[in-house]
């Protein structure tokens, strides 16, 4: 589905000014700092706020166009919205909340969604009796059951504490893979981006700075400003070549006969996974050591080398078809005489990739549930 958001909107000091054309399928993360205008932008899409001027087209439906005087009311846009706070109706039970947006009351469908979100045992309760995480799951179910053409999620984890976030994230992850509705997910968390998004839109001060596949944007220089100086990372998307059950390790195929060993990934061989590799976990050597505890010694070409502060230096590397970034001291960089175009060897400690740094990318179609797709 295509999504066009060409709008201008003054909000106090902030001017939202976007000209965005997206092929929206799966999860598109709207990423940026607080106050960048992310929430305001999706409010414009949902019709909760009006742009000063512009045009918003969802698929083949024009929902807003100043030139043609079109401004569809929120209830006519068929856009599901999961807000930062759950916004459940306090005077309806969970079941009543879930069915509020259903055009045809369908209890079977309600049970499918309730099961997916693990809220079947809560159906007769009132929202006040639920935990924050449960409330948010009900809010997600409620939005899905209105059978929207698109789902907007505004930092659904932001109002929750750490344990609740950990509890809810897997549900959203699963949902993103099973639901055949494009999702726009507002976030300022790199972890959520890594685990949920297929593509991303990077926003700053009301403007779109970059958009594209998550790995492409993450690994580009535009993203450096959003990564902490001492924890710059790249994203690798690669297929699992083989597992070593004996050592509980998995081997990723980086192309050009290069491989990367990581701690065991519980996904079948050949499946596509996404890895975050931290620059601080990569060291560089001129000649490969003969005997080393480090499992991954990969030939790389230096693309660039830039100092990040007085003592550190960030070296961008080409490894097969993939990009890597290594954070080394300026002292080491000078002693090794690192220059663009040179061939070196990158050492990546196999154990340094934690479970939080990996996610399993499943194809959407295989699991698509007929109850979870939009019907017009």
């Amino acid at each position: 589905m295509t999504l066009q958001i060409t709008v201008k909107k003054h909000l106090g000091e902030l001017l939202i000014d976007t000209d965005l054309n997206l092929q929206s399928s799966g999860v598109t993360a709207l990423f940026g700092r607080s106050g960048a205008g992310k929430t305001s932008l999706i409010n414009l899409v949902a019709g909760l706020q009006q742009p000063d001027e512009g045009r918003i087209v969802i698929g083949d439906r024009i929902v807003f166009d100043t030139a043609r005087h079109i401004n569809l009311a929120p209830e006519k846009r068929h856009i599901g919205y999961v807000f930062q706070g759950s916004r459940l109706f306090p005077h309806y039970t969970v079941s009543g909340n879930l069915s509020y947006g259903q055009r045809i009351k369908d209890t079977h469908q309600q049970h499918v969604i309730a099961e997916l979100l693990g809220i079947e045992h809560l159906l007769q309760r009132y929202p006040a009796a639920l935990s924050g995480g449960e409330q948010q799951r009900v809010a997600i179910g409620r939005a899905l059951l209105s059978q929207p053409a698109m789902l907007l999620m505004d930092e659904p984890l932001a109002s929750l504490d750490e344990p609740r976030k950990k509890e809810l994230l897997p549900y959203i992850e699963q949902l993103a893979r099973e639901v055949n509705i494009p999702i726009i997910y507002v976030s300022h968390s790199l972890d959520e981006l890594l685990r949920l998004a297929d593509q991303m839109v990077l926003m700053n001060q009301g403007k779109v700075i970059a958009h594209g596949a998550v790995a492409d944007i993450w690994n580009s220089d535009a993203m450096l400003a959003w990564q902490p100086d001492d924890d710059i990372s790249v994203i690798l998307e690669a297929h699992i070549k083989q597992h070593s059950h004996r050592y509980a390790m998995s081997c990723l195929d980086l192309g050009n006969d290069l491989t990367l060993w990581t701690p065991f990934i519980s996904a079948p061989e050949l499946s596509l996974v996404r890895m975050r590799i931290h620059a601080r976990d990569i060291s560089l050597v001129r000649t490969p050591p003969e005997q080393s505890s480090i499992r991954n010694i990969i030939p790389v070409n230096v693309i660039s080398s830039t100092p990040t502060n007085e003592s550190a230096c960030l070296v961008t590397l080409q490894a097969g078809q993939h990009k890597l970034k290594a954070s080394i001291t300026r002292w080491a960089a000078e002693e090794l005489g690192i220059k663009p175009g040179e061939q070196l060897f990158a050492q990546i400690k196999g154990g340094s990739i934690s479970r939080n740094d990996q996610t399993h990318l499943q194809p959407f179609s295989a699991l698509t549930n007929p109850y979870l797709s939009h019907k017009n």
Binding site: A46, E75, P90, H91, G101, A143
Partner: protein, 228 residues
Amino acid sequence: MLSEYEISALLLSLKVSVCAVLFSLPLAIIMAWLLARRQFPGKQLLDSLIHLPLVLPPVVIGYLLLISMGRQGAIGSRLYEWFGLSFSFSWQGAALAAGIVAFPLMVRAIRLSLESVDSKLEQAARTLGASPLKVFITITLPLTIPGLLAGTILAFARSLGEFGATITFVSNIPDETRTLPLAMFSFIETPGAEAEAARLCLISIVVALAALLISERLTRMAQKRLAL
């Protein structure tokens, strides 16, 4: 226990007050909604007009009703001509006077309650496909129930106590317009009827207390139900 005279005055009072409250409730909801949620020219004027009965002497309201709604009045004569409806010197007139005097109290309570309904919930309902009317009926109004209850009881109590506008507009006719306060006034005027006046005074206190207790109970039930 109660004399025939007292029962008649009590029942008449209840009838007048219940009618006054029931008929003004829909209009009060509309006015409260306009004042709480809408911006329009003349809003300040409407607000003042609605509040006028609160600050005007009741006898002035009675007089205005007499010249406008009486059988010879500008509005009253037409109502009689077209619908055969007459407010003068009837219990319907007493209900009209009570409703007007109690109206600002009702609007105020409902308006406050409407203003405290979280508009974020209404937005959420809109994104779930609900039209503004459906949102009002299924979200806004149920969440306003504590205010509706408070406003209704307050208006009911004010109607029960209405005296000045009533006696001016519809006079003091036994079994037709002689409500509890008017009956009490008649006894106070009559020498040697102190005991009867005291009995009516007690009845008034009991009815008012009962209304307050019921309102308290209902409000608490509504709040519990709404999980507020």
